[in-house]
């Protein structure tokens, strides 16, 4: 039986943060999280489908890997997984992620370097087959759909190769618009 006084003696994680960081930053951050969450809250009952968690986290500016996401989702799911994540659980977890600046962004330069590494022969471009092989077989492999979608944006229609320098600058521009 939880009495009034014992309820008050439980200190939540967000209260600690509240103490340590200024009100405004917390509130602004939480409002951003709330906004992003709401976009996927179709039933308007403060829950989202667990499969959308990755999208929400990424849209808030984080670059987690699939493995990172699995860990986060495990934390967010109920003991008996319902397929839904509640806002009450999501908010503190996401606040922590943002305030600790976890999963820092990948810069344009870093991305370009990555493509250059894959371009072993230093051609200045990649063949679609090359890129496909890397991205669908290595790391955290793309699905066929993901690969097709990337190729449709990346492949130069006339030359049928990926001019990755142009691709990278176009995508980063588009992303920041």
């Amino acid at each position: 039986e939880v009495t009034e006084t014992s309820k008050k003696s439980i200190v939540t994680f967000s209260e600690i943060h509240h103490f340590l960081l200024s009100d405004t930053i917390i509130t602004e951050t939480q409002k951003r999280i709330s906004n992003a969450f709401d976009v996927f809250d179709h039933e308007s009952n403060k829950t989202v489908d667990v499969r959308e968690i990755g999208t929400i986290i990424r849209s808030l500016g984080c670059f987690p890997s699939e493995a990172d996401l699995h860990d986060i989702i495990a934390e967010l799911e109920e003991e008996e997984p319902t397929g839904f994540v509640r806002y009450e659980k999501f908010l503190p977890t996401m606040t922590k992620i943002l305030l600790e600046r976890k999963f820092r962004p990948i810069t344009e330069d870093l991305l370009l370097q990555a493509f250059e590494v894959l371009d072993q022969q230093k051609k200045g471009h990649l063949e679609p087959e090359e890129l496909t092989k890397y991205l669908t077989q290595e790391g955290e492999p793309f699905t066929q759909e993901e690969m097709d979608e990337m190729l449709s944006a990346a492949v130069d229609p006339d030359k049928n190769v990926i001019l990755y320098k142009d691709f990278v600058s176009m995508m980063t521009f588009d992303d920041t618009r």
Binding site: S65, L111, A114, L118
Partner: protein, 728 residues
């Protein structure tokens, strides 16, 4: 391992660690990019839905204005022009059937006409000819349109309100949702699924017209197949099969533009045809198909007895027996009150789930709002008195059609109120409500049945209402349309309700897919999706998102502009030192409260307003992209905004006045209408201003106004907007 030189040699073998790391990085980056894109796609969707819902609130405004005009036009000096009654009231056909038929037969079609020539009764040759012609962008001659509509009317007269079908004769029935004038979608469906025939029956669930540019072609095709295969082609009426809706949403304009000689007669005939369309279809006594939905008052047996052809438009309330009372002063204050109360009382409900959240959020603050009609509903009550308007301004009045018997009505009379026992609602009204509920209702997630923002008819029905109705009539499934869904279809109410929507790219290129259902004797629905792509080159995901997003943001900026004065005043309240900047939080708060659109404003901020160096929002920047055209007569900013905000309504009203659609109306007509409109809105404009405006608009001083130029003057012009010209 993993140094540069060894990579060159080990080309064919396992990639190096560096390469693997590079791959992971790219994957990680790309997935984040796609998520960002998905977020933009979602909120673009939210914007379109919010604006559409907000537009429907305007719809209420318009219908109440029509009622207002009709009821007051005779009181205008006695000799006011009979502006709109001939269009808004149903016309009694003076000619007999035989005479009319003969008249159409005698229309001469010139030799130079190269389009299809229909012969009745129709054959497959005729439908094929129509399909080919429309693919070639040809127009069917007015004579054949009239004949087709006339035959359709004759045919539909024999049909009951509810049609009972069986799957036993065919393998599967195909059910399509809203098409909204998109011929491309209809042709794509026929391409994927085959033409209607005895082996391939179809049901089209309403909303064939409006918004899209090929509404005429769609109904011609649908009606032709209806006549050709009466047992295998079925059409349900939708809320857009309604001549007042058509005035607003483009079908009337399309007909008048395509058929200069016969357009008016075609529209008259369509009024009848639309009202004769069946209201519901039932498959195997198990699956109910209606356009909108149901309410807790829906009863299929009663629905079968309704005189459906009498409900020409859902937007004209049947006249109450109390309308002989002088409600003129009442309606003026009610309209002003309605505008204010629309802003004060946030109970106004919409069709999206976001709106239902707003409803839920505010219902805890104002308990009385939770299950009653929206506040703006009071404005359309010219036909029936309002309940205690002055005493309890926050409590929205009950429906005019069915007040509870214990309510005593307070009717304004001179300076006080008179108590009246409300009369029993006449059968006509009950019938009207049954029909409107079927055509306009939407499902919601919470239990219960609450009135839709449209006054007196159309509900938000919860899972319990669905369950009750299905049980009552021993049904297992409700299929409806009426709402655009991103995937073309959506299930709700534990799978007991399916929404099917067949107009892809409804809001914008890339906004959504269309879909249709195939239902066999086992009554398990199968869904088929598609999306029409206008450009020959397939757009990538991010291009589609960008196009849709651009369109949504433009529409949103227009909304911002339309309420500029209010917004600036509210912004400045936070900006005491007049720096031109306020915090993001304050900006979002202001915009949300003024615009009343439930959108993720913080997420949208980067697209709408600029940040200053200190991280605050320069609030003036949200009006920058939009530069108004030069208004011809100099008017106050408030008036310009009002004109801009109601420009669609104005266009409709002027289209009605401009009987021959020449684009010209007389100054006197302009003056009368303008006075009416502004008095209804409660905007104070004195006679002198109106006269000045009228005179300055009449450029060539011949006593008539070129309405198109008038509208252009107040239309907001985007700097780089080519699309607006394309849409004409």
């Amino acid at each position: 391992m993993g140094c540069g030189t060894s990579i060159a040699i080990e080309n064919q073998t396992r990639p190096s660690e560096t390469a693997m790391k590079a791959a992971i990085l790219i994957q990680r980056w790309y997935r984040r990019y796609v998520a960002h894109l998905e977020m933009r796609r979602r909120y673009t969707w939210n914007i379109f839905q919010s604006i559409e819902y907000a537009g429907e609130q305007d719809q209420l405004q318009l219908s109440s204005f029509f009622s207002f005009m009709l009821d007051n036009v005779t009181q205008m000096n006695g000799n006011g022009p009979d502006l709109i009654s001939h269009l808004l009231d149903s016309v009694v056909d003076p000619l007999t059937e035989e005479v009319r038929q003969l008249k159409y037969e005698q229309i001469v079609v010139s030799e130079s006409y190269s389009g299809p020539r229909l012969s009745f009764p129709l054959s497959v040759t005729d439908t094929n000819a129509l399909l080919s012609a429309f693919k070639e962008e040809q127009t069917l001659h007015g004579k054949y349109v009239l004949q087709l509509l006339y035959e359709t009317k004759k045919f539909l007269k024999q049909m009951p309100n509810v049609i009972y079908l069986s799957t036993s004769y065919a393998k599967e029935i195909t059910i399509c949702g809203d098409l909204h004038g998109s011929l491309d979608d209809l042709l794509l469906i026929f391409y994927k699924n085959g033409l209607p025939s005895a082996e391939n029956p179809y049901i089209f669930n309403g909303d064939f017209v409006d918004r899209g540019k090929k509404s005429t072609e769609i109904i011609i095709i649908l009606f032709a197949f209806l006549l050709l295969y009466p047992d295998h082609m079925h059409l349900n009426r939708g809320n857009h099969e309604d001549h007042i809706m058509n005035l607003r949403y483009g079908f009337t304009k399309e007909v008048m533009q395509k058929y200069k000689t016969h357009g008016r007669e075609i529209l008259q005939l369509l009024q009848d045809v639309f009202s004769l369309l069946p209201l519901a279809t039932v498959i195997d006594n198990k699956v109910l198909i209606v356009h909108g939905g149901i309410s807790d008052k829906t009863d299929l047996d009663f629905l079968s007895t309704v005189e459906r052809h009498k409900v020409k438009s859902a937007l004209r309330l049947p006249k109450r027996s109390t309308d002989h009372l002088n409600v003129r002063s009442c309606s003026r204050s009610s309209s002003r009150h309605s505008r204010r109360s629309r802003m004060d009382s946030p109970c106004s409900s919409g069709r999206s789930s976001r709106a239902s959240r707003r409803r839920k959020k505010h219902s805890t603050k104002q308990g009385s709002c939770s299950s009653s009609s929206s506040s703006s509903s009071s404005s359309s009550s010219v036909c029936s008195p309002r309940v205690s308007s002055r005493n309890t301004p926050r409590r929205p009045p009950p429906s005019p059609s069915l007040p509870s018997p214990t309510d005593v009505l307070q009717v304004p009379f001179l300076d006080s109120f008179v108590s009246l026992e409300p009369p029993e609602p006449p059968r006509e009204e009950l019938e009207w409500q049954q029909v409107v509920d079927i055509l306009w209702s939407d499902p919601k997630n919470q239990n219960g049945c609450s009135l839709n923002s449209f006054r007196g008819g159309g509900c938000y029905f919860g899972p319990d209402v669905t369950q009750a109705l299905l049980q009552k009539h021993d049904l297992c499934l409700l299929i409806r349309s009426h709402e655009c869904k991103q995937e073309g279809y959506e299930l709700c109410h534990n799978g007991q309700v399916i929404t099917i929507f067949s107009a892809s790219n409804y809001y914008e290129e890339g906004s959504n897919r269309g879909a249709y259902i195939k239902l066999g004797p086992e009554l398990v629905p199968r869904f088929f999706q598609y999306q029409v792509s206008r450009s020959t080159r397939k757009l990538t995901l991010h291009q589609r998102v960008r196009v849709a997003e651009g369109s949504a943001l433009r529409a949103l900026k227009e909304k911002l502009y339309a309420q500029r004065s209010e917004l600036m005043a509210a912004f400045q309240q936070y900006d005491i030192d007049n720096t031109g900047r306020i915090s993001t939080s304050e900006w979002a708060q202001v915009v949300e409260s003024v615009l009343r659109l439930d959108l993720p404003w913080r997420t949208l901020r980067p697209r709408l307003a600029r940040l200053s160096a200190d991280g605050n929002v320069e609030y003036g920047s949200c009006f920058e992209d939009i530069s108004p055209g030069e208004p011809i007569p100099p008017v106050t900013p408030n008036l310009a905004e009002t004109l801009y905000r109601y420009r669609t309504d104005l266009e409709i009203i002027f289209n009605i006045i401009d009987k021959d659609h020449s684009g010209q109306i007389s100054i006197e007509e302009f003056r009368q209408t303008w006075k009416l409109f502004t008095s209804h809105l409660g905007v104070a404009v004195n006679d002198q201003t109106i006269d000045d405006m009228a005179r300055s608009i009449d450029f060539n001083k011949d006593g008539s106004i070129d309405f198109n130029e008038f509208l252009e003057a107040f239309r907001v012009v985007h700097k780089l907007d080519v699309k607006e010209q394309q849409q004409g």
